[in-house]
């Protein structure tokens, strides 16, 4: 039997105080704390009809105005999108656009005119938009050398730049890699009602890119000197930190259809004024069926023209309101008591289970 003496033992009274004290001292009783006993306050909302309905109404009331506001803001943005890749090819070359774009003799200049539908307040942003250009392709994305771009010291760090790493005589290409190699090289000149408009390239690249990722002592070298020209050439006397077009281009896009900032027009464009664009159509998207578009756009507080956000907000808010109302109707027309156990699965099926 219990060698420590049961409570009923005759002799326990003699030494009762000692073992009891000892037991208290050696007690393994867990220390009480609300954490260990899992008694910390917790909130687990029960989804009562009132709760559900009011939260749906709340969501609806909050979301619909937000949606409307952003839709209006987006509506106010004036955007001109103009596709020019096909139209800028002369009719004689329409059947062999590749030959046109690859040839050195053909005249690549192309003039397009269109009306400004509404007044565009400055700054008017100029974008070029490429379609079907997979800047996110893994072979493409990896083909660059950030170290080389950052400092002159690692100029020869071109191991990741295959296949545009070194020239035939093994001297490093700066900037190396497929991305730089395929730099976009169409140019645009604008004039309104025959007066030339200046295109500002100020602040079109990220400040952090200019300051930290592209070195001010790194100058282009051996660029586009190989057998295959991919795109624009760079002025080798300007450091990379000042080559804003390159910097913009080097931020690769996540989707095959993307816009990149080309520049800004710092004056307002009046409604119905005639905008003339002189395009140097150099960039070869014809080989892979890509499209080129010129985009002029103003901005508002939600950014550029973007109806999606507003529509999404409105849809969600509307849905919430609809659900709230239908729940409310159900609750009014056919209420049932909360926590009715007969609806539990094992109670609904009488043959199934009884203890």
């Amino acid at each position: 039997m219990d060698p420590n003496g049961g409570s009923s033992s005759a002799g326990a009274a003699d030494g009762a105080s000692d073992p009891a004290a000892a037991r208290r001292r050696h007690s393994k009783k867990p220390k009480y704390s609300r954490f260990t006993q899992q008694e910390l306050p917790a909130c687990k909302p029960i989804l009562t009809p009132g709760w559900v309905i009011s939260s749906f109404i709340f969501v609806g009331i909050i979301f619909i105005p937000i949606g409307l506001a952003s839709l209006f803001a987006s509506e106010r943005v004036v955007e001109i999108v103009h596709r020019y890749d096909k139209d800028c090819v002369p009719a004689s070359y329409r059947n062999d656009m590749l030959a046109y774009i690859q040839s050195n003799e053909t005249n690549k200049t192309c003039t397009r005119t269109f009306l400004v539908p509404k007044q565009m307040k400055s700054p008017v942003y100029i974008y070029y938009q490429l379609d079907n250009f997979y800047q996110n392709h893994r072979r493409y994305v990896k083909s660059r050398s950030d170290k080389q771009l950052r400092s002159r010291a690692s100029e020869n760090d071109t191991s990741s730049c295959d296949p545009e790493d070194v020239t035939a005589n093994k001297s490093a290409i700066v900037p190396c890699g497929l991305i730089a190699w395929s730099l976009f090289n169409d140019t645009y000149g604008f004039s309104v009602n025959n007066t030339l408009l200046g295109v500002s390239k100020k602040n079109i690249a990220w400040k952090s890119d200019q300051q930290h990722k592209f070195g001010s002592d790194v100058y282009p070298k051996n660029f586009q000197s190989g057998g295959l020209i991919g795109g624009a050439k760079l002025n080798s006397s300007i450091p990379l930190s000042q080559q804003v077009d390159l910097i913009v281009w080097m931020r690769t896009a996540a989707l095959p259809t993307f816009r990149k900032l080309y520049g800004k027009i710092e004056v307002d464009l009046e409604a119905n004024s005639e905008l003339t664009v002189v395009i140097e159509n150099n960039y070869n998207t014809y080989s892979f069926g890509g499209k080129k578009k010129l985009v002029l756009s103003t901005t508002s507080w939600i950014g550029g023209k973007n109806d999606f956000l507003g529509i999404a907000y409105i849809t969600l808010g509307g849905l919430s309101l609809f659900l709230a109302i239908s729940f409310l109707l159900i609750y009014i027309i056919k209420p049932r008591p909360l926590g009715d156990p007969t609806f539990l699965s094992w109670n609904r099926n009488p043959a199934g289970h009884f203890n």
């Binding site: 002799g11 867990p30 035939a168």
Partner: protein
């Protein structure tokens, strides 16, 4: 049902002694831990036919282990199987075979083997292999999706941390080994006993151990400070039982050792085995062959107590000791949720493969379609013109590109397979275990024990339990036995005048008062009669009855000092609580057991010290279900006292002489058991000279026999336990544990079926069932109690029909009422072990299952340990429901291991159940917070976490895929 007749394995050489022996055992302390190894290695125990002998009704098999060991000696120790040990001659002992030295190494690694072995063990986990494969794929330049180092780093860190943890643990193990190995022991050398480090002890050397010392290796006792060769050992390190166990040195070796001329001889014993409770061998000293059993060996790790010194010869050393062979971890079970998750993971891998296939097919289509443009495509540029001549850049042809695309998408989509989830689950489980251990509601004040989580990976299964299989004794009841009443010579002494008097009975010895440690309620009438002495017929029977109670046991009285120098307490130590209760009862009525050696006992009979010679003792075994002792009384008569379970006793009682008394006793027994008392019947017989001589001769031959010793002893026992005159019967109360009825009620409310599997008698079981609210008066009881397969089948079929009709009634009432839960007539099934033998044979299992699954309560009585496992297996096989087994004794081990979740009660009956269990706690009632609170939370939280992980990963992957 006899094992020998049923079990074809019984008599011939068995190749798996441990398994066989474990199946034979049904006595409390006996289910060895060693057998666990077996039952773990295949849960195949269920496959063993459950043909072992019936259950034990009472736990008074104190040293049943011995008979068990003998039963193993049914095979001859052939020279190949044996190890030969020359006593005090280690050179010769180790000459032929190099036995292991006494150095122990529990450390897993050495400095050289650490790295490869540790890595090997760590990579046993599928998650790590998966990570490794992904990382290796990532190293290929064509495939490098993520940076090379970043893919290796997490894996490396995890491996490193685990390795450091393992190394630290191993270092600690090495250090404790070193301390252990450098402990000192006294070993017989050329000139007496000399100090020697443990690690230098060799097989065959003679070792002297003093009181409170720990044994350095397994030794066969040669001699002890006690002239009769008794040594008391505490095996708490080995099996956790804190009571003292007696071990004996053989008389012949005691003589030799006392002659001071050194010892020589040859011990022949079995090869090292894991069975702690089995040992067999023999010893040749002076040309005489002595048999050795488990009572002659003291194992490493035991402590010598109450014995000034003991001398023994080392037989197993170091890693061959039984303690070391038993050094293995807990069995591992898999949680249901995890199994389910594995299946889901398989689906996910298929999904992943299909995703990757789609990706690579699409890539192939794209490559095909653009094959002419690839050379110049600005974002693809197949050709490199750098070195003048155009060549392919990073392009290996169409086929290879597809393969690479496939592999790359595997890397990109790798999180689809939530390998990290396995690690998170492990962390969550550690947290849950922490919460369960820390819960105050699971802390047992009485035994000062917290909840223990021994298996970490089945926490959430606790929330899915549908069936609870519970042992009765020690689990539902406290297993604190209390003598309640007696029926002596056909008279029921159960008057209402029971009370506890002052200090109870006490004895004056050398001016000191000796008093039993436990007070027992005494019946005044009976006490008066017992004091009146042997004059009256009634008094004589009462005298014999209490003498039987005091003598017919294996209890060791230990005298304990108290704070009062004039008072000393006698603490009765023994392995069976029933025996303790009986001896305390006898002491309360003036028959106080004062002293026990292997040769005699001293009993104080109403102030008069009497010495009885113990001429022979037939241990309790589960076949006979009784034990007997042959006493040489002071008046030179020889008597045999027998006590045992009623069924087995009535068959050996002389029916012709005292029919009336038998009848009366039977009715009393029925009364006793109907109020939930455990009953024992006591009988005795005078032996005349020739009978005694005959028995003595047979006993001596049998106990030195090498082949079939157990069977022989059993036969001799049955010969002498015959034609007994009945003395009476005792009723012992087995108290219900605190909160059991409420706990059972709550479990029932929660829709959990509680089955009670007990070794007790049907009546006892039913009465406990009532008192624990398991059975209620509105239940219809179906009792199945059969002796043959045919009748069993028939009654099962009848029962199914009855229960079906009851069921449909209840179903109808349910429909009309429209409320469930309160089914009309709940059915309780009560089935006994004998019927279960036929049922579990095979064909009837299905019917039993049908019947049982319809019943709200199932009570199985008289079931043997393996039958318990069989019943659990029956449910496990046929349903998807989770089973939980809870028990405290060695007889529950098989059931605990069989069930999906095994819970051990750390209570009275040793720690084997706890050792085998997945969780251990102090009280049955803790099941309610454990299952309904922790189990529920564990399951719910784990489920949420897994789902969250799956969906999160799916979102990640599908976004990438898009």
């Amino acid at each position: 049902m006899r094992m020998d007749s049923n079990n074809p394995l019984g008599n011939h050489t068995n190749t798996e002694p441990t398994l066989n022996s474990s199946s034979r055992r049904s006595t409390s302390s006996v289910q060895s831990r060693a057998s666990r190894g077996n039952s773990v290695s295949g849960k195949s125990v269920s496959g063993v036919s459950f043909d072992l002998s019936g259950a034990r009704p009472v736990r008074h098999g104190s040293r049943g282990a011995e008979s068990d060991g003998f039963s193993m000696s049914q095979r001859e120790l052939s020279d190949e199987d044996a190890r030969l040990i020359y006593i005090n001659d280690p050179e010769k002992s180790n000459e032929r075979y190099e036995f292991a030295g006494n150095t122990v190494r529990t450390g897993k690694y050495s400095i050289l083997t650490f790295l490869p072995r540790n890595l090997f063990e760590q990579f046993h986990r599928i998650a790590y292999i998966y990570f490794l494969v992904i990382a290796i794929l990532n190293q290929l330049p064509q495939l490098a999706v993520f940076g090379r180092t970043t893919s290796v780093l997490p894996l490396a860190i995890v491996l490193l941390v685990t390795a450091i943890k393992d190394a630290y643990e191993d270092w600690r193990r090495h250090r404790s080994d070193q301390i252990e190995n450098n402990r000192m022991a006294r070993v017989l050398g050329d000139d007496g006993f000399q100090e020697k480090k443990w690690k230098n002890i060799r097989v065959g050397e003679i070792i002297k151990i003093s009181a409170n010392d720990t044994l350095p290796c397994d030794t066969v006792l040669l001699s002890t400070s006690d002239p009769t060769g008794v040594a008391y050992v505490q095996t708490i390190n080995l099996d956790g039982e804190s009571n003292l166990k007696t071990r004996y040195a053989r008389q012949e070796t005691i003589l030799r050792m006392s002659q001071k001329e050194g010892m020589s001889g040859l011990i022949k014993c079995e090869k090292p085995s894991r069975n702690i409770y089995g040992f067999q061998g023999n010893m040749e000293v002076d040309g005489k062959r002595l048999s050795l059993g488990p009572s002659n060996i003291v194992l490493r790790g035991c402590e010598l107590k109450n014995t000034a010194w003991a001398i023994g010869v080392a037989v197993y050393c170091g890693r061959e000791t039984k303690a070391m062979l038993n050094n293995s971890g807990a069995p591992s079970k898999r949680s249901r949720l995890e199994a389910y998750m594995n299946r889901e993971t398989l689906f996910l891998s298929l999904f992943l493969i299909s995703l990757c296939t789609i990706v690579s097919v699409l890539a192939a289509v794209w490559l095909r379609r653009h094959r002419d443009e690839l050379d110049y495509l600005p974002y693809y540029r197949r050709k490199s013109y750098a070195s003048g001549k155009p060549k392919n850049y990073n392009y290996y042809g169409w086929g290879w590109e597809i393969v690479f695309t496939f592999l790359m998408s595997v890397i990109v989509f790798q999180i689809m397979i939530p390998i990290s989830l396995y690690i998170s689950m492990e962390l969550v489980r550690v947290g849950q275990a922490y919460f369960m251990i820390q819960d105050n509601k699971l802390y047992d004040e009485a035994s000062n024990s917290r909840f223990q989580c021994r298996a970490l990976n089945i926490n959430e299964d606790l929330g899915q339990i549908k069936y609870v299989f519970s042992d009765k004794t020690g689990t539902l009841t406290e297993n604190k036995m209390e003598f309640q009443c007696a029926s002596i010579w056909g008279v029921d002494y159960r008057g209402g005048t029971t009370c506890v008097q002052g200090d109870g009975y006490s004895v004056q010895v050398d001016g000191q008062v000796w008093r039993p440690k436990m007070k027992v309620k005494a019946d005044l009438e009976l006490e008066r009669l017992s004091k009146s002495g042997k004059q009256t017929e009634e008094g004589k029977h009462i005298h014999d009855f209490f003498l039987a109670l005091a003598a017919c046991n294996t209890i060791v009285p230990i005298v304990v000092d108290t704070s009062d120098p004039a008072v000393r307490l006698i603490d009765y130590q023994g392995e069976s609580p029933d025996e303790q209760a009986l001896v305390y009862a006898a002491a309360a009525y003036g028959f106080m057991l004062m002293e026990r050696t292997s040769g005699h006992i001293v009993i104080d009979v109403h102030g008069e010290r009497q010495r009885f010679d113990v001429l022979g003792l037939h241990e309790f075994d589960s076949d006979r279900k009784r034990m007997s002792v042959i006493l040489g009384c002071p008046d030179d008569t020889v008597k045999v006292f027998v006590k045992g379970a009623d069924t087995s006793m009535f068959s050996v009682i002389d029916k012709f002489s005292n029919m009336n008394i038998i009848r009366a006793t039977e009715s009393h027994l029925h009364n006793f058991s109907s109020v939930g008392l455990r009953t024992l019947v006591v009988g005795m017989r005078d032996l005349n000279g020739s009978e005694f001589e005959q028995w003595k001769f047979a006993f001596e031959t049998a106990s030195t026999a090498l082949i079939g010793r157990a069977a022989l002893l059993r036969k001799i026992a049955s010969n002498i336990e015959n034609n007994l005159s009945i003395l009476g019967a005792s009723g012992i109360e087995d108290k219900l544990q605190q909160g059991v009825p409420e706990a059972i009620e709550s479990l029932r409310m929660a829709g959990i079926k509680v089955w009670v599997l007990t070794g007790d008698k049907q009546e006892t079981a039913i009465s406990i069932g009532y008192s624990s609210k398991l059975l209620t008066s509105n239940m219809t009881q179906i009792i199945i109690n059969n002796n043959s397969k045919e009748s069993c089948k028939k009654s099962l079929e009848d029962a199914i029909v009855t229960s079906k009709t009851l069921m449909t009634q209840s179903g109808v009432s349910q429909n009309t009422e429209g409320i469930s839960g309160t089914a009309g007539t709940p059915v309780a099934l009560i089935i006994d072990g004998t019927s279960l033998v036929y049922v579990l044979d095979g064909e009837l299992e299905e019917q039993l299952f049908q019947l049982a699954s319809g019943c709200s309560v199932v009570l199985c009585c008289r079931v043997a340990p393996l039958q318990k496992a069989g019943i659990v297996a029956l449910i496990k096989k046929r349903t998807d429901d989770m089973t939980l087994a809870i028990g405290d004794g060695a007889n529950d081990v098989s059931m605990i291991q069989m069930a999906d979740v095994g819970i051990g009660i750390s209570g009275q009956e040793g720690r084997q159940a706890v050792m085998a269990s997945d969780f251990a706690m102090g009280q049955f009632r803790f099941l309610v917070p454990l299952l309904l609170v922790h189990g529920h939370w564990n399951y719910q939280r784990m489920g949420y976490m897994i789902l969250y992980n799956f969906y999160r990963n799916a979102v990640f992957v599908l976004v990438l895929f898009w």
